[in-house]
């Protein structure tokens, strides 16, 4: 499992962001180290602390680092020269809070460094889509949205099911993280779409893309999958949707 390092000017900010992210994981949690503040209550960053945090969570799967702003980036690049571990370290360009949430959930789900980094970095895209602003459209990285006509005639080998969202606040962050985490168990590519508007679709492995769909209570989902475990994966998502994602 990849390790997560959180670099911030403020220990309170870092701890709160990590606590928010951990609300979305189950018992399986990645190793997370915080390097925040410059000691003695000083707001700032310290490259030596960052290096120690990287070494603390280093594993062969690599380390993904989230930074707030300014000197956090400078201190982290400097820490790469100080650290003792030699595993791959990636500095995420993601916005701080969204990036930490995505990184922690994906790490817990067993995502590798590439996937977690890519997914976290897409956070602004998902937020733009959610706000309906002029940002670039959401592009689910793993599975393209199913074309509308496929809804009637599934492609060869595609497994399709439908379920309706029962949660009062819809498919928000925590249900999305439950879906994403469950996908780690299957060798399948699963797409979740609004059955009445199939262009609104996202990969079931993409936390931020799922959240970006902002699917509300009562939305009928079209769940489609391909791959060796497609049947089991689609059924899993169908069942957990009907069940309210354990909420």
């Amino acid at each position: 499992m990849i390790g997560i390092v959180v670099v911030s000017h403020s220990p309170a900010l870092a701890e709160a962001a990590v606590a928010l992210a951990l609300q979305m994981t189950g018992d399986t949690r990645p190793r997370i180290a915080i390097a925040a503040g410059a000691g003695d209550g000083v707001i700032g960053t310290d490259a030596v602390r960052v290096a120690a945090a990287i070494d603390e969570v280093a594993s062969p799967d690599g380390v993904l680092v989230f930074m707030d702003l300014g000197s956090a980036v400078l201190s982290t690049t400097m820490a790469l020269e100080f650290r003792e571990s030699t595993v791959e370290v990636r500095l995420s360009s993601a916005p701080f809070v969204e990036g930490i949430v995505a990184g922690v959930v994906l790490a817990a789900a067993g995502a590798g460094l590439d996937e977690a980094d890519r997914e976290a970095a897409s956070a602004m895209t998902a937020k733009n889509a959610q706000l309906g602003s002029a940002g670039p459209p959401v592009e689910p990285p793993a599975a393209p949205p199913a074309a509308p006509e496929q809804a009637a005639a599934p492609a060869t080998g595609e497994v399709v099911a439908e379920a309706t969202i029962v949660n009062d606040v819809g498919l928000h962050a925590r249900p999305a993280s439950v879906i994403v985490a469950s996908m780690a168990a299957f060798d399948a590519s699963v797409t979740i779409a609004d059955a009445d508007d199939p262009k609104r679709a996202a990969s079931a492995s993409s936390l931020l893309a799922l959240m970006g769909l902002a699917l509300g209570k009562g939305t009928r989902l079209r769940i489609s999958g391909t791959g060796p475990d497609a049947a089991a994966a689609v059924e899993s998502v169908r069942a957990m949707t009907a069940d309210g994602y354990g909420e």
Partner: protein
Amino acid sequence: MAGTATVAQLVDWLHRFAASVAENQAYLTELDSAIGDADHGSNMTRGMNAVVEKAGDPSTVDALFRTVGMTLVSTVGGASGPLYGTFFLRIGTTAGAVGELDGAALSAALRAGLAGVIQRGNAEPGDKTMVDALTPALDALDAGLAAGDDLATAARAAADAAAKGRDATEPLVARKGRASYLGDRSAGHLDPGATSTALLFEALAAALAGAETA
């Protein structure tokens, strides 16, 4: 003679810089409050006070600057920590385990420090950063040494050039650091980092000139 900088003189340089930063703490913070986050004076004072506390009486140049660099990295807090930290660490590794530096060796070490700052901050001359004081200072030092000036004279010229470089940051629009968030509104203010760098070279000139100009 052309002159050398001994470890003791370099320690003196840092003591003088610490005193100068502390004396100008309010001024540096005032500059930083105009275009940054109003912490440059307090950050540098805290960092250099820690340097003075930890510098001790090292026997080699690399040991001295390793302590200085690591101390700043861990105590400054703001962007100046990794930037000044990198500057001094590179000076130390380039100078090596020697007890004194002649003009050429000091220049080479300072050049390595400048290269480290540029690499760390990804800044170029004209970005309204400490690079805008460092670069002309080192150019003046080299020009003086090349003309046969002794080290003290060349260091004096470097301090004057750093001050000019600092003054030249006033009309610039910041392209790096917190000040760059202000865009055009950053023009019309001296850059705090270039200002502290000018103090650094003023302290160097004083340390190499000897006690009589202190």
